[in-house]
């Protein structure tokens, strides 16, 4: 018997090795609960009968966003003392991979960011929880005081996004605004673009851009450009065109309204030379040029504010120039949502957190004051947000986009985005002048249609 003991030991040991290898993923997820339990129990004693609960929350974003969310979560934990939040912030580039892997292995966080096409896929697969009944019971949520267009992105009716019950709440709304370097305009004596939609057209833009494109050292290449990264979405929609008609699922890029607009954008660099061409953009992107004060007109989202506040020149936002053919202005409106896992063990607490992050007044205030977003709460956005004593002076433009002429970004309503990715990949043929927009869109439309049908129907 005694002689056999080492043998037995080895069996147990190697068995444990194998077992621990199998269960390795379960261990760490549980572990963080342990140290937090004592403090929870303390709170429970004072609070009443609520069970201590730990929920997981996963998001992404820059270090600034992480800091803000840590503060918001601390505030949440104070208000809901029985709940401990385990917050993970993942680099944006890896987020979607990580989330999908967690979901498919049954370890989805209780609350997580989800946006656009991912929301569609998750809603369809039953990954995200229908929160309508929770919303009806909370006093944080006043449907009239949250941007309707933001809420609609998180509605799902069993087959389509945009209508039906809510499956998520907006973390933010991202109006894509037209921004300009005020100092450059003043120095050149050019009238800046106005804030009201429709007052400026593409022709006005071109004229101003021509005056602001300057070759300082005479090497034949402009050192300062008039406009950069001009939004194709804005041009196409303003011109009455569409990327896709989501009602019928028809890709519309081969229509004249579309390719005329695309040609206009391409010609800004190809014909007029007022926008960095593809090579110049590769060498130094428009964002860096704008920060360096070498680009007069550009585009921005609210999240760019903290970086722009540091700039040594004055800047402001304006309405996107309207198409002279229609007089219409348009741009895209992004959004990121907060959703709750359908498999969450603590849906009520998870909902409380999502509602707090999306709708709590103090949280929303902190968020806009730090320049992360426009408030989700309409009264706050129309009130104190407009009065905030920081650039941009024409903050109303952000609200105009949300309320009036912003549209969901193109991929937001597709489950599978290959059709639009293919377009952007091959569009360089137009940007570098190898093909006209008309020929290109005629060539690529069938391919896009095929991909859309395959992935979305």
């Amino acid at each position: 018997m005694k002689r056999n003991q080492p043998w037995v030991g080895t069996v147990v040991l190697s068995g444990m090795l194998v077992l621990s290898a199998c269960s390795g993923n379960n261990g760490p997820a549980e572990a963080p609960n342990a140290p937090t339990t004592p403090s929870n129990q303390e709170n429970t004693a004072t609070e009443g009968n609520k069970e201590p609960v730990t929920i997981e929350f996963m998001g992404h974003g820059n270090p600034n966003e992480k800091k803000i969310f840590e503060a918001l979560i601390a505030a949440f934990e104070e208000e809901y003392p029985n709940v401990t939040v385990k917050y993970t912030s993942v680099p944006p580039g890896e987020y979607s991979q990580k989330l999908t892997t967690l979901v498919s292995s049954g370890k989805a966080p209780d609350v997580f960011y989800v946006g656009g096409s991912e929301f569609y896929r998750f809603a369809e697969a039953g990954t995200v929880l229908n929160i309508q009944s929770f919303l009806d019971q909370t006093d944080l949520f006043h449907p009239d005081n949250v941007w309707e267009t933001a809420l609609n992105r998180y509605r799902y009716d069993g087959s389509n996004v945009g209508a039906g019950d809510l499956y998520g709440l907006p973390k933010d709304v991202g109006p894509w605004a037209f921004v300009y370097n005020k100092t450059l305009f003043e120095e050149a004596g050019v009238a800046p673009p106005p804030a009201e939609a429709g007052a400026w057209t593409w022709d006005d833009l071109l004229e101003a851009a021509q005056q602001l494109t300057i070759d300082e050292n005479g090497d034949g290449k402009p050192d300062q450009y008039g406009v950069g990264a001009y939004s194709l979405e804005s041009a196409v929609w303003g011109n009455g065109g569409q990327f896709i008609d989501y009602d019928t699922g028809t890709v519309m890029v081969d229509q004249p309204e579309f390719y005329e607009a695309m040609q206009y954008v391409a010609d800004l660099s190809l014909v007029h030379g007022v926008s960095p061409n593809q090579e110049a953009e590769q060498a130094l992107n428009a964002y860096t040029r704008f920060l360096n004060g070498k680009l007069a007109m550009f585009a921005m989202g609210p999240w760019d504010q903290p970086a722009f506040w540091e700039l040594p020149f004055e800047w402001d936002i304006a309405a996107w120039p309207a198409s002279p053919n229609t007089g219409e202005t348009a741009t895209w409106l992004g959004s990121m949502g907060l959703a709750i896992s359908a498999k969450s063990d603590h849906p009520q607490e998870a909902f409380d957190l999502a509602a707090f992050l999306s709708l709590d007044e103090d949280g929303q205030r902190e968020n806009y004051q730090l320049g992360q977003a426009v408030p989700n709460l309409i009264d706050m956005a129309r009130g104190e947000f407009l009065e905030q004593d920081k650039a941009p002076a024409s903050r109303q433009v952000f609200l105009d986009i949300i309320e009036d002429y912003g549209r969901p970004d193109v991929p937001a309503l597709s489950k599978d985005t290959q059709w639009i990715d293919t377009f952007w990949q091959d569009a360089s043929k137009v940007w570098n002048g190898n093909m006209s927009a008309k020929d290109f869109t005629a060539e690529i439309q069938p391919k896009m249609q095929e991909l859309y049908d395959k992935g979305n129907k």
Binding site: V11, L17, C22, V103, R121, F122, A125, W424, S428
Partner: protein, 297 residues
Amino acid sequence: MNAKLTGYRRKELAWLYLFVAPPVLGFLLFGLAPIVFSIYISFQKWDMLTEPQWVGLGNYNDILNDGKVFISMYNTVYLMIGIPIGMLLSLLLAILMNRKFKGISFMRTIYYLPVISPIIAISLLWQWILNQDYGLLNNYLWDVFGIQGPNWLGDPNWVKPSLILIGLWGGLGANMVLYLAGLQSVSSTYYEAAEIDGAGAWHKFSKITVPLLSPIHFFILVMGVIGAFQTFSQIYVLATDGGPEYSGATIVFYIFQHAFKYFNMGYASAAAWLLGVMIFIITLLQFKLSKRWVYQD
């Protein structure tokens, strides 16, 4: 169990299996099982969220009808131009390094350094070297030769040559070490005999050194081809979304995009299996052909 085995033998066998068990089980669980599963998944439509749907050969059919797969295959094969160039350069380098002079180990270390550097760091470094306006390379070309260098990573025609250049720089050291080992195992008696017969330096090199190194050539070639088929990291860093007009996308990048951007796991598995079979056939072919030119003693 065999009744003939003595108690002692039996015990020893049990120990043997115990020690062998962890790696074998590890492989079965984390190696073989996913491989087998991926065959099964390649016949399914699966987005990792909903239940897989059987589509038969649908994925394979779709792949062969997708133009992008051929572009990325062409790109991958194009990158193999770097293999013979790299072999030539690393052989020359190894011959230079195969002498005794002061600081030789320092020199060898220098040339080996890129091999141990993370590929991501190397890619970021080259991203700056190859920048059109501000990059070191184009600045040298302008200052020294008065040539305006191309937009290395922005022009579809130059992306692949740039990638080959980066691959050469990064791979030289590893191959050099292999050749160095080969050179040092070539017996000096061959050279002495050749010298007595009046052979010059070129003859010694071409008739003795090169043929006797043929097992090394073969090893580098096989590994180089497999490595080229698996090129991924530098593409991921240097060629956003496959580079201009998909000119930088390799086949593994294509698979990655379908797996982790579009979450078409079935489609990606099918593409991975096509790639696997292709690598297998080409390697087999290389082994068959090697009998004609690789010298084994």
